[in-house]
């Protein structure tokens, strides 16, 4: 394990060859932004928007086009080239990226822009000291202060950060920079203590066991109507979710010249599944809310063997009408027990 003084962090950021994203103050909260020479904020618990937008931007050009008489000229957007360093993401968001990897980097088709960025990304995870009241990562088997498989795991000991590499490229990066000293034994045990204590601060729990199997049996149930009733279909939950990956493809054009881009979409929107001709397989918010919960808790596990939720708590923290996936899971559990 290595250690670095926090005052030396600007040296670290400057030494990283690529674009370095750090958590910065953004309005009343925090968000990830390219490091611009300022010191990073130490007092954030988590960012409002997850770092998924660095790898899967909210809008992204795919190609530009030009109508030339009868012909169409298509010019693919140039892909990202620079290495990306995401410094200080939390273990839940690290897991969120691993789940996006399952969608975008596996299966018969790879998502080229995402994969290209991701292949060249370093994830430097900072362990949480204390969870928020809305955090429930431990329900999904996550640890608030350790992310298995992260390039780096880091712990904040006040004056210094402790760093442990978790991948070969993470170790190579750490060994290649002369900014670190070996951590002392005392520091290592402090980090271990922090890790153990952080776990105890996660008090919100969601009943995960058997939920997938239970939901498989309850696609038609009056509970869906009840759960969906207060939803405003604003889509905030999906935009702030570290694992939501739905997108739309759209074009802008003027006089036969324009570009095609993709942007985040939300299964909470009424026209998301609306077909030409008027048929809508998910016509009311009952079906749409059901789809969102089932995607996280049933479909994702069926397809990838993992839950599509990491317990970051953003959806419940930011819902204007206090929809709460943990409460839904508890209700579902009750219903399924009957």
């Amino acid at each position: 394990m290595k250690a670095i003084s926090k005052t030396a962090l600007p040296d670290l950021f400057a030494a990283l060859k690529g674009r370095v994203y750090v958590p910065v103050r953004e309005g009343k909260g925090f968000g990830f932004a390219p490091w611009d020479g300022e010191i990073w904020p130490a007092d954030y618990q988590n960012t409002i928007v997850p770092p998924k937008q660095i790898l899967f931007p909210q809008t992204e050009d795919l190609y530009s086009f030009r109508m030339e008489g009868e012909d169409i000229a298509i010019d693919p957007a140039s892909g990202p080239e620079e290495p990306i360093f995401i410094f200080g993401l939390r273990p839940c968001d690290h897991k969120g990226i691993e789940l996006l990897d399952l969608v975008f980097r596996q299966g018969p088709y790879l998502d080229a822009p995402y994969s290209k960025r991701r292949d060249n990304t370093f994830l430097m995870v900072l362990g949480c000291k204390e969870g928020l009241p809305t955090c429930f990562c431990t329900s999904f088997g996550l640890e608030p202060a350790f992310a298995p498989g992260a390039d780096w795991n880091m712990w904040d000991l006040g004056e210094v950060l402790l760093i442990e590499p978790g991948t070969a490229k993470g170790k190579e990066l750490l060994d290649g920079l002369e900014l670190f000293r070996e951590a002392t034994e005392e520091e290592v045990s402090q980090a271990k203590k922090l890790r153990d204590e952080a776990r105890e601060t996660i008090t919100l729990q969601a009943p995960v066991e058997g939920i997938t199997e239970g939901l498989q049996e309850n696609f038609e149930h009056p509970l869906w109507e009840e759960v969906a009733r207060k939803c405003l279909e604003c889509g905030a939950c999906t935009y702030l979710c570290p694992t939501c990956h739905c997108y739309d493809l759209q074009s802008t054009s003027v006089l036969g010249q324009g570009k095609r881009f993709r942007c985040w979409d939300s299964c909470m929107y009424c026209n998301y599944t609306l077909m030409a001709g008027g048929h809508n397989p998910r016509p009311t918010k009952r079906e749409r809310v059901r789809n969102r919960f089932l995607h996280k808790l049933q479909y994702f596990p069926e397809n990838h063997g993992e839950f599509g939720c990491v317990g970051c708590g953003r959806c419940l923290q930011n819902c204007p009408v206090h929809m709460d996936i943990t409460r839904f899971m508890a209700q579902a559990k009750d219903v399924m027990a009957k």
């Binding site: 086009f65 009868e70 169409i72 298509i74 018969p108 088709y109 790879l110 990956h245 074009s251 397989p281």
Partner: protein
């Protein structure tokens, strides 16, 4: 790594009017066929300044060219219907699983189509007729609202009935003074024909209401769920199982479908 979401450019080399709101387009890429495909697979067709939509490929891979039969129902199809010879479109694919050819080999085949739903079936019908020795008897039942709404009339009335072992029956919901064939829904013809389920696979595509009644009739005639194949459609954007919207349960119609047996559909939630 190529970006699957970027289309290649193809040209319209033929346009055939099928009905007042259906046209069949032939597209050719720079090197001929835009890409190889199998019957039942789909492709994204786009006019970049308007939009992009998923269509089943109606030609058979045994043919030289790639054809799409497109019904005018929305923004993209409205613009596509204005295409003229020589104009360029974007096309990408193929997408989806296609028909389970191995399962069909050596079997008698029963095709039941309604309206524009004959488009994906036509790909498989022509594929089977071009590989005639691999399949048993072929029965085709097709229905449309009126004689004016029949698509692929050349094949229905001329080409297919001439092939040995092929029977074609066409019906319309409402006839007119020119129509001398049967009048009524396809299920009526199906019951009259009563094809023996033994060694036969039924493949159906059409409007949801037709499919519903066809499945009911097939069950009545003794067909098992794993003997019946249908194809589904949903709104799609990516075609590669990532943009999210075409799922039924955990299955994405663009990748896991569009072709399913009824037995497979029984395992999925009812969200058609």
């Amino acid at each position: 790594m190529t970006n699957e979401l970027i289309p290649q450019v193809a040209k319209v080399v033929a346009v055939r009017r099928e009905t007042s709101d259906v046209k069949t387009f032939t597209f050719r890429g720079e090197g001929g066929l835009p890409f190889a495909y199998m019957p039942g697979q789909c492709a994204m067709v786009s006019l970049p300044s308007v939009g992009e939509a998923m269509f089943s490929i109606t030609s058979s891979p045994t043919q030289e060219d790639m054809e799409f039969s497109i019904k005018r129902v929305g923004l993209v199809t409205e613009a596509l219907h204005k295409l003229t010879l020589g104009q360029a479109v974007g096309v990408r694919g193929p997408y989806g699983n296609g028909f389970p050819l191995e399962m069909l080999q050596g079997k008698d085949l029963l095709f039941i189509g309604g309206g524009i739903g004959l488009a994906p079936l036509r790909s498989l019908i022509n594929y089977c007729l071009d590989n005639r020795a691999d399949y048993g008897g072929v029965d085709i039942i097709y229905g449309a609202r009126s004689p004016q709404d029949l698509v692929f009339t050349d094949e229905l009335f001329e080409r297919w009935p001439k092939v040995e072992g092929v029977q074609v029956q066409t019906t319309v919901d409402v006839g007119d003074e020119t129509w001398q064939g049967p009048v009524g829904v396809v299920t009526k013809l199906l019951e009259e024909l009563n094809p023996d389920p033994q060694g036969r696979i039924a493949i159906t595509c059409g409007p949801p209401i037709m499919i519903k009644f066809v499945l009911r009739t097939l069950a009545k005639l003794g067909y098992q769920d794993d003997q019946i194949i249908t194809t589904l459609e949903k709104r799609m954007k990516c075609g590669v199982g990532k943009c999210g919207r075409c799922n039924i349960g955990g299955k994405y119609i663009c990748v896991d479908g569009p072709v399913f047996t009824v037995a497979q559909l029984r395992d999925l939630p009812d969200e058609l």
